[in-house]
């Protein structure tokens, strides 16, 4: 147990170092990347004098080290600075996107895991049979299909043609839906940023639970999340299916499986307690890495479905050279990736304690 704690502590410290590295690299990128934010703030016909005044007003002419130190100090206070373009605080804007981003990433991951692992197991245990061929074909299609095309086709067919789902947008959210059941509620936002620093909402005790509102909100939220999750999760599903299949096939050929069978263990016990557990070790790693990637990388799906996530915010802020917003997004995405990887490492270490050595 002590070694597990030490292992986790080491991973957390490494993670903090990575996040600091992200902050510093993004800061330095500002000075080597072409394009000046003033070109996006000031209009085309702005005089040089106007441009210079706007530069000074936004602190764009401060020395690099001054801006860097100010930013690091601000981060410790929960202050990520102010957007060059809108002059509103960055932190609330970035964190406002986080629930939508996490919902989509987790939903896509759940879709992928629910479908791919059983499919991979069936494919491996019915090798060279129709079920295996079907699963393999599905994997090939899933990996080959561009998710931009898939998303548009799903919208045209299921949303526009049959109107089973909305075409775009996010209706409600997980927290809003669950909030109908919680007896303990928060007045206003859970966390707000006043003058750039965080403060928490007021907790109140409220009865009764609003179950019908929970169902209605839950239905609307689910319908708005379904198509984006399928779109984003399809490639992921195909990937995990193939990984599970190949992993199971490899494990089924191992000597311990022959020994277990020779001992008379039921086949289901052999497959699902021993073989699948060992198969899932690399699968867990891949799932974790993919989840971390999805936190900041679902730009195409967000664009097709107008899903208000971090990916779109990052692209828009890069296009506008809005450096405080770029930094804020990348710090959150980087931190999210690090956290997910730490969790993956922790689970992996539980499944396979040898990695702690």
């Amino acid at each position: 147990m002590a070694s597990y704690s030490r292992f986790l502590t080491k991973r957390v410290l490494q993670g903090l170092l990575v996040v600091w590295g992200v902050i510093t690299v993004v800061f330095l990128l500002r000075y080597i990347t072409p394009g000046n934010p003033i070109d996006f703030i000031a209009p085309l016909d702005a005089s040089q004098a106007t441009r210079q005044r706007i530069i000074e007003a936004r602190g764009l002419d401060d020395p690099l080290y001054v801006q860097y130190v100010d930013y690091i100090v601000g981060l410790f206070r929960g202050d990520m600075g102010f957007s060059y373009r809108s002059r509103t605080p960055v932190a609330p804007r970035v964190f406002a996107k986080l629930p939508a981003t996490l919902e989509l990433a987790v939903a896509a991951t759940v879709v992928a895991v629910i479908i791919s692992i059983p499919l991979g197991v069936v494919s491996a245990t019915r090798r060279n049979q129709p079920a295996d061929y079907g699963a393999t074909l599905f994997s090939l299609l899933g990996i080959s299909t561009p998710n931009f095309w898939l998303g548009v086709m799903l919208v045209i067919l299921l949303a526009v043609q049959f109107q089973f789902f909305p075409t775009s947008g996010r209706t409600g959210g997980f927290l809003e839906t669950i909030g109908n059941l919680l007896v303990l509620k928060v007045n206003g936002p859970l966390v707000s940023f006043t003058g750039g620093s965080p403060s928490f909402g007021q907790f109140v005790f409220e009865l009764p639970m609003e179950f019908s509102a929970f169902l209605a909100d839950g239905r609307d939220w689910f319908l708005s999340l379904f198509l984006p999750a399928i779109t984003l999760g399809t490639y992921f599903t195909a990937l995990i299916t193939r990984l599970t299949r190949s992993g199971m096939l490899e494990q089924l050929g191992q000597s311990y499986v022959r020994a277990a069978r020779a001992k008379g263990l039921p086949e289901t016990l052999v497959r699902y307690r021993h073989v699948l557990r060992n198969t899932l070790i690399p699968v867990v790693t891949v799932v974790g890495l993919q989840l971390g990637t999805l936190i900041g990388g679902a730009v195409i799906t967000e664009a097709v479905f107008d899903w208000p996530g971090l990916g779109t915010l990052v692209i828009d802020s890069i296009n506008n050279r809005d450096w405080p917003l770029i930094q804020g997004c990348l710090v959150v995405i980087g931190a999210g990736f690090v956290i997910v990887n730490i969790v993956v490492d922790a689970v992996y270490a539980k499944l396979n304690p040898q990695v702690m050595d």
Binding site: P34, F40, A42, L44, Q163, P166, S168, G169, D306, N320
Partner: protein, 531 residues
């Protein structure tokens, strides 16, 4: 159709059709300037001296057509998709006024743009999407109707009260959404906040839009006096397009972050909820100084992908969408519940040719580039007919538009001959174009370069550029650092020729690619006259 803006006194400009071509100096290149054996265009030698401001501007457009500092491409159209559940007509200035949208089914209206705002401060932006959001809540002293004509809003009258001074008579009985009454001090503060950097804690990017305005002060209880740095013939046109009026006490008691996430204007809609980057929801303002808006609730949202906007429209999830791409027009037109609503915008798309860089320092070569391009085909095939070919920098129905100047016809033989005459046979040129900044910008650039490349004595290719980088090179004040040949667009909502020619084609223009003493002189003379 009326031009919408005169030389500053607020009356609409008559349609630009001079009585006869020679007397007022608007002879066309096709009226005897091309004799058999000659190639290209020349200015007629018998042009009469212009008499009015409009005539000086028309003469400048004639000179620019002949000098050809640009390949004159097209006037962009604003192509909207509209649900059959609303009655609405598109405006030339690309603004969508919720007040003009009448729902026929229910009392709520939804508009989907391509992007959301950059903040709700009406003085701290220069983009159409942000303007569409703040314009529902904020109003100016003057405004424009759907055709671009100047109309009164928070001012009931205006006059020139001195050589460097104009006075607006203010409307009474108007209140802000906070309940405060609209006063002359609010009007003066709003103007000063834009043009003076020490007022309102803002370095407004709109200060150059009120070019020449130096400040304002409250006159009597019902007037505001605006000072200018000398005579300004377009001052009323500027106020008809710019300068939203804000509540001074509200502005001074809130910080920038609050002002950028809340709104307090005098307009027909007041802010209900604001979800940054997602949507803005308004409700009808009960104490509006005119009749209440037809819709009780207005929502503005955004979808960056055109296909997403189209799908929203076809599924009745929105009522108006912007920027329908050419490939989706037939889909919208074929739907039972939607239709296309298009209008000529105030944006001109052109290829600038830097006047002092080889081979563009030759008038013959520049004219050759215009003859080489089949703009009619580009409009038909790339823009699906939703564009107008241009012949001059000024758009039709603007003050100063010269209706006797024709576009360059497609004539590759004449283009080839002009290239030979220029002495630049064998020239290799590169057309720089932004990507996705303007409708079909890359496709237009590729077509233009393709036509030029077909000439036997010129080679042309396209280089795609990030708009930010391209704009940075063009705006650094040094004409030599940017590309010599580039595609760009320019929007001018004042409906006055001077606001296109001055920044783009005069020697000291912010985005100029050209210098010509005759043009500078014509514009300076025009700007010193009211009419």
């Amino acid at each position: 159709m009326l031009a919408g803006c005169a030389g500053g006194d607020g009356t609409p400009t008559p349609t630009s059709t001079p009585g006869d071509g020679d007397d007022d100096g608007t002879a066309t290149p096709s009226d005897g300037t091309e004799t058999p054996g000659d190639i290209g265009r020349e200015l007629p030698s018998d042009l009469a001296e212009p008499g009015t401001r409009d005539e000086y501007l028309q003469r400048a457009n004639l000179v620019l057509n002949v000098e050809a500092p640009w390949i004159f491409l097209n006037r962009q159209y604003s192509v909207y998709g509209k649900s059959t559940r609303v009655n609405w007509t598109a405006r030339a200035d690309e603004t969508i006024k919720g007040y003009a949208i009448e729902p026929t089914d229910g009392n709520a209206v939804t508009i989907t743009q391509s992007q959301m705002d950059s903040g709700l401060d009406p003085h701290d932006h220069r983009e159409t999407p942000t303007q569409n959001i703040v314009t529902q809540t904020y109003e100016g002293l003057l405004g424009r109707d759907a055709d671009g004509r100047i109309v009164n809003e928070l001012a009931t009258g205006y006059e020139r009260s001195g050589d460097a001074e104009v006075t607006f008579e203010l409307r009474s009985g108007v209140s802000f959404h906070s309940g405060d009454s609209f006063t002359a001090e609010d009007a003066a503060y709003s103007i000063n906040r834009i043009v003076q950097s020490d007022v309102g804690g803002l370095e407004s990017p709109q200060s150059d839009q009120l070019a020449g305005v130096t400040g304002a002060e409250a006159g009597s209880d019902s007037t505001v006096v605006v000072s200018t740095d000398g005579f300004n013939p377009t001052v009323f046109a500027l106020f008809a397009s710019y300068c939203d009026i804000v509540n001074q006490s509200w502005m001074e008691s809130n910080d920038a972050a609050y002002i950028n996430s809340h709104m307090n204007g005098t307009g027909p809609f007041q802010l209900e909820t604001y979800e940054q980057d997602v949507q803005v929801v308004y409700s009808s303002y009960g104490d509006y100084w005119r009749d209440a808006a037809p819709a009780d609730e207005l929502t503005i949202q955004a979808a960056g992908e055109a296909s997403t906007r189209v799908n929203q429209l076809l599924s009745d999830e929105t009522d108006i969408i912007v920027n329908v791409p050419p490939q989706s027009i037939s889909q919208v037109q074929g739907a039972d519940n939607a239709e296309i609503a298009a209008t000529a915008s105030t944006r001109v798309i052109y290829n600038a040719m830097v006047y002092n860089a080889e081979p563009f320092d030759s008038v013959e070569f520049r004219q050759a580039m215009n003859y080489a391009v089949d703009m009619e085909s580009i409009v038909e095939n790339i823009l699906s007919g939703f564009a107008d070919v241009t012949s001059q920098p000024t758009l039709e129905n603007f003050t100063g538009y010269n209706s006797d100047v024709d576009p360059y016809p497609y004539d590759p033989d004449q283009a080839e001959a002009l290239v030979e005459a220029s002495g630049y046979s064998g020239a290799e040129i590169t057309l720089h174009t932004p990507v996705g900044r303007y409708l079909q910008d890359v496709e237009i650039a590729q077509a233009v370069a393709g036509y030029i490349d077909e000439l036997p004595n010129v080679s042309a290719e396209v280089q795609q550029r990030d708009f930010g980088n391209l704009a940075g090179e063009l705006l650094d004040g040094d004409i030599t650092t940017g590309p010599d040949f580039y595609l760009i667009g320019w929007g001018n909502t004042t409906f006055d020729a001077s606001q296109t020619i001055i920044p783009l084609l005069t020697t000291d223009g912010a985005l100029t690619s050209y210098s010509n003493e005759q043009v500078d002189e014509l514009i300076n003379t025009a700007q010193s006259r009211i009419e």
